[in-house]
């Protein structure tokens, strides 16, 4: 008997979580634009509310369109399920709020997206949750930062702004030795480039606004549970292993051996915080997920072409991309990211802030805006935009130079992108 071959990534991208609509035969995923769902009778209603039957009650808690996206991303990540949220930030908040509370402590990479850094540095301390930030490359620092009240380790697969590659296997090992889970923001890599669960992560989230959607039309997030972490054995998570008065005294770990975290996140987090995704957004993001493998291949191929070009330009001081031997995580990237190190990177222009401003303003194809992961190529010059109030010294502390340019490489012809960058580089020289 030949061993069966499970459906591959490309097939799951198109089919996981969805079959032709059983009522209408619709092949595409319908958008279920409804706030609520009719009960068959009073017993059916009670059973749905008490989690005796699986089904939809109210679209803040679950929706059939969202469920397709959730199951599809879970399938692509190799998880047990997922929750679609209003944004990537909502997914991060949901992950933390499900297992941490006042008095809890987190350990996080200091190379984070600015919004995540703000949440951990300024907002969560108001609610009694403190974070110690560590150099993601310093494994000793991760270990030393763990306290008795630590509940979570957290990092990005590719950090901001220097594309620090998170050593997921090593950080996961440190987390597990302390009976803690590792949460990973996998937005820049998507499951096509890296499946963090395969390397020991326990929870993964995405800003689906970026590469999962890919079209730049919908804001959303997805939080995925790997189903691997043993909350009971950890002994640190009574939220999941003891009766919860807020939901019929449910002990989530007893209900589901592998999905206790997701059960509580949906039954409490979506119910109480309410940061759900619109089914319209779920539909739009699903359109992107269908072509994720094809797009990511092209994103990476175009990025390699662009980096090859920039590497040969005299106006370019340096490039931070893990596939380059000059990057400190080059060896790690070869091991964890064999399909490519993504399509977002930074480079430093010679000439400082003024050169950066001239470069940006000369570009015609790259769009000057604050986003990444679009099908269209994007650019931003932090020193003259997002960080314009900061001195050169303060910028340096954040890992940003006065001439640092961040590019998100899209799906256009790489020749046209290179022409556009050539135009910018000529302008930068003045």
């Amino acid at each position: 008997m030949a061993a069966p071959r499970s459906p591959q990534f490309e097939t799951l991208s198109l089919h996981a979580g969805q079959r032709p609509d059983p009522v209408t035969g619709a092949r595409a995923t319908p958008i279920y634009f409804t706030t609520s769902f009719v009960f068959r009778d009073a017993d059916h209603a009670a059973a749905l509310f008490n989690m005796e039957r699986g089904g939809h009650v109210y679209s803040r808690i679950s929706n059939p369109t969202n469920a397709v996206l959730e199951e599809r991303v879970a399938a692509l990540e190799g998880g047990v399920g997922a929750i679609a949220t209003a944004s990537g930030q909502a997914a991060l908040h949901l992950a933390i709020a499900t297992i941490a509370g006042a008095g809890s402590h987190l350990v996080a990479s200091r190379a984070l997206y600015g919004g995540s850094h703000n949440l951990l540095s300024y907002t969560l301390p108001r609610f009694g949750i403190d974070t110690t930030f560590v150099d993601p490359r310093d494994l000793r620092a991760w270990k030393d930062a763990i306290r008795p009240n630590t509940r979570l380790l957290f990092g990005e697969t590719l950090g901001n702004p220097g594309l620090d590659v998170l050593d997921v296997p090593s950080v996961a090992e440190i987390a597990h030795a302390a009976r803690l889970p590792l949460l990973v923001d996998s937005t820049f890599t998507t499951p096509w480039l890296l499946r963090p669960f395969d390397h020991g992560a326990d929870l993964v989230y995405h800003s689906a606004t970026k590469f999962l959607g890919g079209h730049g039309v919908a804001i959303g997030g997805v939080l995925v549970d790997g189903g691997t972490f043993d909350w009971e054995a950890s002994g640190k998570f009574p939220e999941l292993t003891e009766p919860y008065p807020g939901f019929h005294g449910m002990d989530f770990q007893e209900e589901s051996t592998v999905a206790a975290f997701l059960l509580r996140a949906r039954r409490e987090g979506l119910r109480d915080f309410g940061a759900c995704m619109s089914p319209a957004s779920a539909f739009q993001i699903l359109q992107g997920v269908e072509t994720l493998p094809l797009r990511m291949e092209r994103h990476v191929a175009n990025t390699r072409r662009v980096i090859g070009f920039l590497s040969a330009q005299s106006g370019v001081e340096s490039i931070a991309y893990p596939e380059l031997e000059s990057h400190p995580d080059h060896a790690l990237a070869k091991r964890l990211l064999p399909r490519g190190a993504g399509a977002v990177f930074s480079f430093d222009l010679k000439g400082g802030r003024e050169a950066g401003r001239r470069f940006i303003e000369a570009l015609r194809i790259f769009s000057h805006l604050a986003n990444v992961g679009d099908a269209k190529s994007l650019v931003i010059h932090p020193a003259s935009t997002t960080h314009f109030r900061m001195s050169d010294e303060a910028l340096a502390q954040a890992g940003i130079g006065p001439g640092t340019i961040r590019l998100s490489i899209g799906l256009e012809s790489p020749d046209d992108l290179i022409d556009d960058l050539s135009r910018g580089l000529r302008a930068a020289k003045g």
């Binding site: 459906p7 089919h15 969805q18 059983p22 699986g54 959730e70 019929h248």
Partner: protein, 264 residues
């Protein structure tokens, strides 16, 4: 709740209600390399509808201690010992896959302890191919992938267990991976070695429900119907668009059939 069964600690999920042996009792018996959580929706519903529910973790599975039992006969004896420990005189038994053989064996050997049996995803003989059996012994992770592939009929459910947003195949795979090394082979060897199914089937006196998946590649529906024909008082329901993981893929249909059969 926890019970002492023989010398071992045994766990049984009671559906979110305090177990009351005075109520009509139902014991849910999971399949190989799984645990009680495959029955969450059905057991929780019935516990909240007047039944005393014990969704067990068989020895060495989930939260139950001990070494895995290596024959269907021994597992049946363990279930009866569990009834004793729980103070239950007689119960309806609902079993899936390996658990269905355990329920059949119990009903034949201990007719006074078993009021009804519901066999989900069952077949006799429940032979395991030599290649898969060897994989369960020597290459568990590879065997998990094979079993998971053969256990599901489709890449989507509407919705599956335990609800919307859960990837049923992923959950089933992780649940198998959570079991202790050696359990998988013991379970599959027990199924493969069970030889007296037809003889036991003929001795079953209580009503029996067979719930089969038309697309079941682990225990083909045809083999399930063959077994049902050997049970004197049996009903067969075959579910379309369902594979071997019937509670995962068709949780509502399984519950509705059980409610009707058990009169709950």
């Amino acid at each position: 709740m926890e019970l002492r069964v023989g010398s071992g600690r045994a766990y049984a999920y009671t559906g979110g209600k305090t177990f009351d042996p005075a109520l009509p009792a139902i014991v849910f018996i999971h399949g190989g390399e799984l645990d009680h959580s495959v029955w969450i929706l059905q057991s929780r519903y019935l516990a909240h509808h007047g039944c005393a529910v014990l969704a067990v973790d068989l020895p060495a599975h989930g939260r139950s201690a001990g070494a895995p039992l290596t024959s269907i006969e021994d597992l049946a004896g363990w279930i009866v010992a569990l009834l004793d420990a729980a103070g239950v005189k007689a119960a309806a038994l609902v079993g899936h896959s390996m658990g269905s053989l355990v329920a059949l064996e119990c009903a034949a050997r201990y007719p006074e302890r078993v009021s009804r049996i519901a066999l989900v995803g069952t077949a006799f003989p429940m032979r395991v191919s030599p290649e898969l059996l060897e994989a369960t012994r020597a290459r568990e992770s590879e065997a998990h992938l094979m079993i998971n592939h053969w256990s599901h009929s489709a890449l989507a459910q509407y919705p599956g267990n335990p609800g919307p947003g859960f990837w049923v195949a992923g959950g089933n795979l992780r649940l198998m991976q959570r079991q202790r090394p050696g359990v998988l082979h013991a379970d599959f060897a027990a199924c493969n070695g069970y030889a007296s199914g037809l003889e036991r089937a003929a001795r079953v006196k209580c009503p029996a429900l067979f719930l089969l998946g038309r697309l079941d590649a682990m225990t083909p529906a045809r083999a399930g119907r063959d077994l049902a024909r050997a049970v004197p008082n049996s009903i067969v329901k075959t579910l379309d668009d369902a594979g071997h993981n019937l509670m995962g893929e068709k949780p509502d249909e399984i519950l509705d059939a059980l409610v009707e059969f058990l009169g709950a």
